[in-house]
Amino acid sequence: MGWFIAGRLLAAIPVLFGVSVVVFTLLHFAPGDVASVLAGPMASEAIKEAIRESLGLNRPLPVQFLKWLGNLLHGDFGTSLVYKRPVAEFIFEKFFNTALMAVSGALLACMIGITIGIFAASKAHSLFDRVTMAVTMVVGSTPLFWLGLILVLLFALTWRVFPATGMTSPVGGGGFLDVVRHLVLPAVAAAMPSAAIISRTARACMIETLGQNYIRVARAKGLRRNLILRKHAFRNALPPIATVCGLELAFLLTGVFFVEVVFAWPGLGNALYYAIIAHDIPTVQAAVLLIALSFVVINLAVDVLNAWLDPRIRVSTARQGGR
């Protein structure tokens, strides 16, 4: 397992390097001028030139990139050109806010999706199965922002159970329960389409597992249905379900950007969007790198989880490591 994790971590380095090169290059070729943004529309060309000089924007691109990379390795993400604060001061907070919603949404999606999937599989081709699968198809195809608006309409405006906007109450907010109250609707909105996809995957995996010979043997031995589902079928169907759950979490880390807009959630999505239009290159680079890093970590975690769940993967990996 140690070799397995080490190998995956090493493989992540070129991925992150590649991402940083692409992001850096694309941003520098995007239309618009950082100096104009900073100096404002009234500044003369001389002032803009002075700003370019002070930020090192006049130097060759590879030199700028290497300098940025060197600073990054020292934990320095640079200073936001717009907020005039070190990027590290606020980007982690924004990332945490997004991750909070994405992880909550993914957990919710897994619980709902797996539950529905298992019940649908255990009653395959029944009316319950058909109805739930039809519903999941509709929900899975629904845009996140629309779901968000409907949830706000019902739970915030009509029944007044949860707040409609923000992460904390504007006045006197900020406590743990306050954040949780604000989190419920966005997390549910984010979870619904993922739950639909997970439920369909869980159903398919469970149906396949329930058709295996060892399940027939268990049935022939007279084991109770619940015991078969719980001990024999679910455990073996879990690896592909866990993979989908991991993918959905990774998707939600960027997918919740739409939910952030609807709920005015102060996450990375909003910060990234405004950094892009303001040509705030250090902020964009830090945000994209964090997203890429989280994708790598999630994929690694899913691989490790699968290896833990399924001994066959461990054995196969060990053999590969041995060669």
Binding site: I47, R160, A164, S169, P170
Partner: protein, 534 residues
């Protein structure tokens, strides 16, 4: 491992119980805390350094924190526009006979929010920031902003007369000078010298320290800006305990915040919702004399647009009444001249080129385009603008003009806009204006071509320039208004350099508990009169 299913079931149950607990165990917070105005902004405010910023949203915030020599009286509605000037940090001021020397008698006993005194030294410190290149706290950016439209270009010299008297000498009489210092781009607000020295020019936007009725508390980027009442304020103290500006870009989100009681004032409400909100008891507020307008700019370097008949035809082809009725839902009024309603020079009886598609077709035929023509139109990604642009595209199609919309992200657009139109481009657009009619000169004078100004369509007529020059030195407002009317006649009547579209009323919707709010003739507001009635 063998208990995976059971564990999963337990986890689900725990989560369900937790949700129920949150629902049952926490009471919903009150809709409005005592005396707190929660203002939903449609975009982020720019930096809170009034000397190096542009934009009405940030000006709305700095208006509460900082003060200048004088101020427009936005605390009540006036019959005249713009609002009259009232003393602020200058108790009085004298203007010399020749209109060049301004002597400001400063208010004594005023302190900045950091406790340091306001006096002539503090005023000079602020002037040095954008005028004296040798000053340790001189800012090139501040100078650039003040030279553009902040009145610095008019200043010959300035000096401390005594501890509480300050004198500014202009190069020539400019009747609009003092008002030009109060515009948003930049504003001659006085910032605490101690704060500038402590935080430096780069970090002062994070620590705005003024003398105004509200003090800056915190800014959470992308989330909110919090101000609190300045209990040590020298003048009439504000009623509100706090003002919280929330950044809620999405119109539906702003609306939801208002309906859910999470904001009690929203700026830029969705136009289609205004009527419904009023029926639900919310209060609609608008400024019928906005100091700006939305307009198209023709490119005088472009061969097609050099023909005045084409420029006239475009003006006549646009159904402005339709735009304000169908798109903006009457939150605007059609504009036919270039003098905005928020200035003293606006002429409500001005007859411009009205909607006449048949006349437009004839003009195009006379100009040599009987089968129509194709023109390029640069447009920004900004608010609801696309609805209007599509409407214009449809109107022009009816008279045979194919309009190619070149849409650009806002900052990329501004970059291109500031450089002036390249020869191959026929026209672009913007929404802009000031409370001084001299603004028309900023966008139309011969000496304001880029990079020396914002005459981005390269228009030039010395006859108009002469009127602009005389207007700044006119004996009184009536004379100046007459001169601006003549300038407008040249710019719009003879030359048709622009196609003004509409005057937008800056609509706001307030919760009925918000009292004392005055929707002034400026693009910003005085919140010291506001309170929340529980």
């Amino acid at each position: 491992m063998s208990n995976a299913f059971t564990n999963f079931r337990r986890l689900t149950l725990i989560c369900l119980l937790a949700v129920a607990g949150i629902l049952l165990g926490t009471a919903r917070s009150p809709a409005h805390a005592q005396g707190t105005l929660i203002w939903a902004l449609p975009a982020g405010a720019s930096v809170l350094d009034p000397h190096v910023t542009c934009g009405w949203l940030s000006r709305g915030v700095t208006q509460q924190v900082f003060e200048s020599f004088v101020q427009q009286d936005l605390s009540r509605l006036h019959d005249e526009t713009p609002a009259p000037l009232v003393p602020r940090l200058a108790e009085s001021w004298d203007i010399s006979e020749d209109g060049r020397v301004y002597t400001f008698n400063l208010r004594s006993g005023v302190r900045f929010h950091d406790g340091t005194p306001f006096d002539a030294e503090a005023v000079k410190f602020n002037f040095d920031r954008f005028m004296d290149t040798e000053a340790p706290h001189f800012s090139e950016l501040a100078q650039a902003y003040f030279m553009f439209a902040g009145g610095a270009a008019d200043i010959e010299s300035y000096r401390i007369v005594d501890a509480m008297t300050f004198e500014v000498t202009l190069k020539a009489r400019n009747n609009e000078w003092i008002r030009s210092t109060l515009e948003d781009c930049p504003t001659l607000f006085f910032v605490s010298p101690a704060a500038i020295e402590e935080f430096g020019n780069d970090a002062i936007p994070l620590h705005p320290v003024g003398t105004g009725p509200f003090k800056f508390v915190e800014r959470e980027e992308g989330v909110k800006i919090v101000l609190e009442r300045n209990d040590d304020y020298w003048g009439r103290k504000a009623k509100l305990d706090q003002v919280i500006y929330r950044r809620l870009e999405e119109p539906a989100t702003r609306l939801n915040a208002l309906l859910a009681g999470e904001a009690n004032l929203i700026q830029e409400p969705p136009w289609d919702e205004i009527e419904g909100l009023q029926e639900e008891g919310f209060v609609y507020s608008e400024n019928r004399n906005p100091p700006w307008l939305w307009y198209l700019i023709f490119n005088f370097k472009n061969p097609t647009m050099q023909d005045v008949r084409v420029r006239k035809a475009i003006n006549m082809a646009i159904d402005r009444e339709g735009i304000v009725r169908e798109i903006t839902r009457n939150t605007a009024t059609p504009a036919y001249g270039m003098l905005s309603r928020g200035t003293h020079a606006h002429d409500p009886d001005y007859q411009g080129l009205g909607y006449d598609p048949e006349g437009a077709r004839q003009l195009l035929a006379e100009a040599g385009y009987p089968d129509g023509l194709e023109i390029d139109f640069d447009i920004p990604q900004y608010g609801y603008g696309e609805l209007v642009e599509k409407w214009i595209q449809r109107d022009l199609k009816k008279v045979g003009i194919t309009l190619n919309l070149n849409k650009m992200e806002w900052l990329a657009y501004l970059d291109k806009w500031n450089a002036g139109m390249p020869e191959e481009l026929e026209m672009n657009e913007i929404g802009w204006g000031q409370q001084i009619p001299g603004w028309l000169g900023l966008i139309a004078r011969c000496d304001r071509h880029p990079w020396d100004g914002s005459n981005v369509g390269w228009y030039c007529n010395p006859k108009a320039d002469e009127f602009f020059k005389k207007a700044l030195q006119a004996g009184d407002e009536a004379e100046s208004a007459a001169l601006y009317a003549q300038a407008n006649d040249v710019v719009m009547g003879e030359d048709v350099a622009f196609a003004p579209l509409y005057h937008y009323y800056n609509p706001l919707v307030l919760h009925p508990s918000v009292k004392g709010f005055v929707n002034s003739t400026a693009n910003w507001w005085d919140l010291s009169t506001v309170w929340i009635e529980e």
